[in-house]
């Protein structure tokens, strides 16, 4: 079942004529001519679509929180500042099929009553920005954007804004600050963007994938979307699969397939590369807790784990993880967990905005301690120190970057403590090039 990537391999799908030949912009026709904004919102609510940026908050509910005072403009902002290590789905979608996003932007803006909308794209993706600009111009030329769209009286201007190259600008309020031309520091909440967002006006910020899905929902109805998937995880999800698998890439999966299927079936990842065994998986982008092979395939209760929001988080952080943004990083037994954790910690250290003290100082501290452990300078007390620092960052920061920095470190120690200890106790072995810890009796040990 493919919704967003159905026509993605059609040649020239990035041009508006080819896109329209394959049913493109029919949702705009239907929404603007035959439906009211409230009806569109209602369909999205019915669909059960959940935010695809990581938090999984229901999109329809987010829309209904939007304050609608008289005489104040409202804005829709598309968060395309995808920078999480391991996640590259939005990049793929915008690059291959920019009109899928633009169609969703028009439909969503109509539903929210926004007359100006923005797509905030990660600055490093300059060529994607050019593709989007070109596609937007085509849509203007066809009368799908601008004044009086399709003769309906509804006006919409759509702008692309390149980011300055900061991961933190993917946090919605930092994104709005950056969009206003300021330093990208997250704001204190409340007030939430739905009340005071861009230029202090009510604003909805949604992920690329969430917005792109709305046009299919308008075309086929919320119930049809809700029919795909399991329970409260409805529809399809783009998964960025990378690491030690045979077929890395972006896959659109119906939510609810098993993790085992996703890793080993030829339709998706195609299994672990030859001669190697699954050791660990980071299931939702670098910020979610890492899980060892035995816990990612089955839950602690022994059930098969599914690719859904609920099943992946089954067991809480003790034995579970999160679907997050769908950055699925697979590691075989040659991967060193300490090295991997250091890489993530380094990233968050580099990307912390420095506004609030736990994250500013804590991320740097964890990076330095992990660096020592990785390079044979670890001390016995460092492991507990890392756990404690992570605990003191988590939940005490302005924005979720603090949590995102602390979870991978805490989880790596939770599930691979013996590997950290091995690094500290045997620095001469651990610092040898290519040396990896082998746990006795583990399924991945050779």
């Amino acid at each position: 079942m493919k919704i967003l990537t159905e026509h993605i391999d059609v040649p020239n799908i990035d041009t508006i004529d080819v896109f329209m030949k394959h049913g493109g912009y029919s949702a705009v026709q239907k929404a603007i001519k035959k439906m009211t904004p409230d009806e569109v919102t209602e369909e999205v609510k019915k669909s059960g679509l959940r935010g695809r940026g990581g938090a999984g908050f229901p999109v329809g509910m987010k829309w209904s929180f939007l304050a609608k005072p008289e005489g104040v403009p409202r804005y829709l902002v598309c968060n395309a500042d995808e920078s999480e290590p391991g996640t590259f789905k939005d990049h793929y979608l915008m690059w291959k099929s920019p009109h899928t996003l633009i169609e969703g932007m028009i439909v969503s803006s109509f539903a929210l009553g926004a007359n100006t909308s923005y797509i905030y794209v990660r600055g490093e993706l300059m060529y994607v920005i050019n593709i989007l600009e070109k596609a937007i111009q085509e849509a203007y030329d066809k009368g799908l954007l601008g004044k009086n769209i399709l003769g309906s009286g509804y006006d919409l201007d759509l702008f692309v804004q390149p980011g300055g190259g900061a991961y933190i600008c993917g946090e919605e309020t930092a994104l709005l600050e950056s969009l206003e031309g300021k330093r990208g520091n997250p704001r204190n909440k409340p007030p939430f963007p739905a009340v005071k967002g861009l230029w202090q006006c009510p604003t909805v910020v949604n992920n690329v994938e969430s917005i792109a899905a709305t046009s299919w929902i308008v075309n086929n109805g919320g119930d049809a979307y809700a029919a795909i998937g399991v329970g409260r995880s409805t529809g399809t999800k783009l998964i960025s699969a990378s690491g030690h698998i045979k077929k890395p890439g972006v896959y659109e999966i119906p939510l609810g397939i098993t993790v085992e299927d996703f890793i080993y079936s030829d339709e998706w990842c195609g299994g672990i590369r030859d001669g190697h065994k699954l050791k660990a998986v980071v299931a939702g982008g670098s910020s979610v807790p890492i899980l060892p092979a035995e816990l990612i395939l089955t839950t602690a209760a022994g059930e098969k784990r599914l690719m859904t929001y609920e099943s992946l988080s089954d067991g809480g952080f003790a034995t579970g993880t999160m679907l997050g943004s769908g950055g699925f990083v697979v590691m075989d037994e040659t991967a060193c967990i300490v090295h991997n954790t250091l890489t993530f910690a380094k990233f968050y250290h580099h990307e912390s905005c420095g506004q609030c003290s736990p994250c500013r100082e804590g991320t740097g501290w964890m990076d330095k301690v992990l660096h020592r452990i990785e390079h044979g300078q670890g001390r016995k007390e460092d492991i507990d120190l890392l756990v404690d620092v992570a605990k003191k960052i988590e939940g005490n920061t302005i924005c979720p970057l603090g949590d995102a920095a602390s979870w991978p470190v805490a989880a790596a120690i939770r599930h691979f403590r013996d590997e950290f200890e091995w690094h500290i106790e045997h620095p001469e072995l651990a610092t040898k090039p290519g040396a990896v810890f082998m746990r006795k009796g583990a399924s991945w040990t050779k």
């Binding site: 330093r183 204190n188 912390s352 003290s357 736990p358 500013r360 003191k392 005490n396």
Partner: protein, 343 residues
């Protein structure tokens, strides 16, 4: 609106923050503030020193808030119940915040002009632990010259953003700000431009640490050897209300007048601050009422001994472990405190 903080209930107006309500009760209950500065709009929420536990959100929705919330920017709701000094989680987190703030701080108090009136010293004394867990090298910064009046030592900065808000809100044009990000973020001007503005000196007063100090006062005296006196003068630019600091007969420093929370409400101009260094320039009002737990008050105005505040009591409780009865009896402290509420 009714709000309960540390089992003390009071009535406040709608829109009051937890911090403001706690300050109405008194210093024993008020959470520490490193970045929040009431006269500056938009300040607060950054240092996380004032995190408190809300055990009941409001009368209507009595569920506890899932995370600790910053007292300085969280508005009270009717029927809210807040735990500050009686909550173990809060105190434990605060220990962590002290640790984070000191992680890259040079701890050069012996040569720092701010020592004695430094909020970070107070904060770490009241809430920190005496040992360190870090062996890492501290971050350092290249010196930046901010002009003839203001001395910047970036290594001491805790990035509270107070000086940024001050420049935004009371001077006519901000030329300095925060550059870079994370733990290498620093206060600087655009390409080392001097801060030149009639009210620029106020960034010195709002700085909670020794990052921004007065160049005309540099290394002249320790704060506690000088004697603060409230004084005023006729000034066209500002209110003229200041505190002047004597060493012997000499005026060695002029600052804004700080209230009990260490906040200046009447900002003064650079003329008053840097140029009026003679007693004849001022009309003396009388000795400054020096705030609680300050070393400045020692040995100056008679036996104005301050009753130990809660954090001191707590430090004394911790001190019991090494069983030195002499010190406790000296402070007149009861051997055990009422057990704090566990969550």
């Amino acid at each position: 609106m009714k709000v309960t903080i540390d089992n003390i209930t009071l009535e406040v107006d709608p829109g009051t923050t937890i911090m403001q309500a706690a300050r109405m009760i008194g210093p024993e209950v008020a959470p520490p503030a490193m970045c929040y500065y009431e006269p500056l709009k938009g300040s607060g929420g950054k240092c996380r020193a004032c995190l408190v536990k809300v055990t009941a959100g409001s009368e209507k929705d009595p569920r506890p808030m899932p995370k600790l919330v910053p007292a300085c920017i969280t508005a009270v709701q009717d029927g809210m119940i807040v735990e500050n000094t009686v909550n173990e989680d809060v105190l434990e987190t605060r220990k962590g915040i002290v640790e984070f703030l000191l992680l890259n701080h040079p701890l050069d108090c012996p040569v720092c002009d701010q020592a004695g009136e430094c909020h970070l010293q107070d904060f770490s004394f009241e809430h920190g632990v005496s040992s360190t867990r870090t062996v890492e090298e501290r971050n350092t910064f290249e010196p930046t010259d901010l002009g003839p009046n203001i001395q910047l030592n970036m290594n001491r900065c805790i990035l509270c953003y107070r000086c940024v808000y001050t420049a935004d809100q009371i001077t006519d044009g901000r030329v300095h700000g925060v550059m870079h990000r994370g733990d290498h973020a620093e206060i600087s001007t655009y390409i080392e431009k001097a801060i030149d503005n009639d009210f620029s000196g106020n960034v010195i007063d709002v700085c909670p640490v020794g990052a921004l100090t007065d160049k005309t006062y540099r290394f002249k005296s320790r704060v506690w050897f000088s004697k603060p006196v409230d004084a005023h003068c006729e000034c066209e630019k500002c209110s003229g209300k200041a505190t002047i600091w004597y060493k012997g007969e000499e005026v060695i420093r002029v600052t804004g007048r700080k209230n009990m929370w260490g906040e200046v409400t009447d900002f003064i101009c650079n003329g008053c601050r840097f140029d009026k260094k003679k007693t004849a320039d001022w009309v003396i009002e009388g000795p400054t009422n020096v705030s609680r737990h300050s070393v400045i008050s020692a040995n100056k105005y008679g036996a104005n001994l301050i009753k130990p505040a809660f954090p001191v009591l707590q430090a004394a409780r911790d001190y019991k472990q090494i069983n030195d009865d002499r010190d406790r009896s000296f402070l007149g402290i009861q051997p055990a405190l009422p057990k704090s509420k566990k969550k």
